[in-house]
């Protein structure tokens, strides 16, 4: 194993939440299936008596076999655990200003719903 002295390339995210939106599977220009969905993550207060909550919605993208699995098994309303990396995408708006949008590129998605 070689030893590197540069900055380690770490980019890891794991979060859980509820799928609020799932788009249709489509083919990318690389001839791979892609699926996009949104996950709402709710952070509750540490104190059980508190009602304080913060809600975040994150855009997630999956490719290849994982995208196909998600298309088959994940539905809107499913509770999921997503692992992946942060990816920023640049786009130009109508005023021709450049913006960056951040998404999560999933490497693993587990369904957390309790099976009866």
């Amino acid at each position: 194993m070689s030893r590197t002295h540069g900055l380690p390339e770490l980019n890891y995210i794991v979060f859980s939440g509820t799928v609020t939106q799932k788009d249709s599977l489509f083919w990318s220009k690389y001839n791979m299936h892609v699926i996009r969905f949104r996950v709402e993550n709710t952070v509750s207060s540490m104190e059980p008596s508190s009602d304080r909550k913060r809600v975040y919605e994150l855009a997630v993208e999956a490719w290849g076999g994982l995208a196909e699995d998600i298309d088959r098994t994940v539905a809107t309303g499913s509770s999921v655990l997503v692992e992946g990396s942060l990816v920023s995408r640049a786009y130009v708006d109508r005023k021709k200003e450049e913006h960056h949008k951040m998404i999560v590129k999933a490497s693993s998605v587990k369904i957390l719903d309790v099976r009866s």
Binding site: L7, L10, I13, V14, F15, S44, L58, S88
Partner: protein
């Protein structure tokens, strides 16, 4: 017994500061630092050549961590961030809905190697900043990230 779904939200990312951090003190005296980091990922392209993709991430830190960032981080500084992903939505001057995903830093490690580190490795921290309280917004600084000069003994 009803089981509540666990809430997990963790990010670990390295990168270099794109510009000097933007630091300020809020009206209530709280220190805040905002910085943009560039995370480079190398991968082998379809033609077999190495390619690089850059992910630009906005990171926000509070209190002591913000003070340390202000003191030790500059454009180009390499850092490791541990925190949680947050999502901010607001309305701009033109009334358009805008949103941004950013990292709320709980722990920051400054990865720049100083001269004395070349003959003496810094001790590995392995110590938690204890910043897992999602409501405090008050991450403690990583002990290993404080330069030795600042330790008063």
């Amino acid at each position: 017994m009803d089981i509540r779904m666990p809430s997990i939200n963790k990010v670990i990312i390295t990168g270099n500061l794109v510009r000097d951090p933007d630091t300020r003190i809020l009206e209530n005296g709280t220190h805040m630092a905002k910085m943009s980091i560039a995370n480079n990922q190398r991968f082998r392209g379809r033609d077999g050549t190495w390619q690089e993709k850059t992910c630009f991430v906005t990171v926000v830190a509070w209190r002591k961590t913000a003070e340390l960032i202000s003191e030790y981080c500059r454009k180009g500084s390499p850092v490791l961030i541990e925190g949680e992903l947050t999502y901010n939505a607001w309305e701009d001057r033109d009334g358009n809905q805008r949103s941004r995903v950013e990292i709320n830093a709980r722990r920051v490690q400054f990865l720049e190697r100083r001269e004395q580190d070349s003959y003496q490795e810094r001790p590995s921290s392995g110590k938690s900043s204890g910043g897992d309280n999602h409501d405090s917004d008050e991450p403690e600084p990583d002990i290993s990230s404080i330069p030795d000069d600042d330790i008063p003994f």
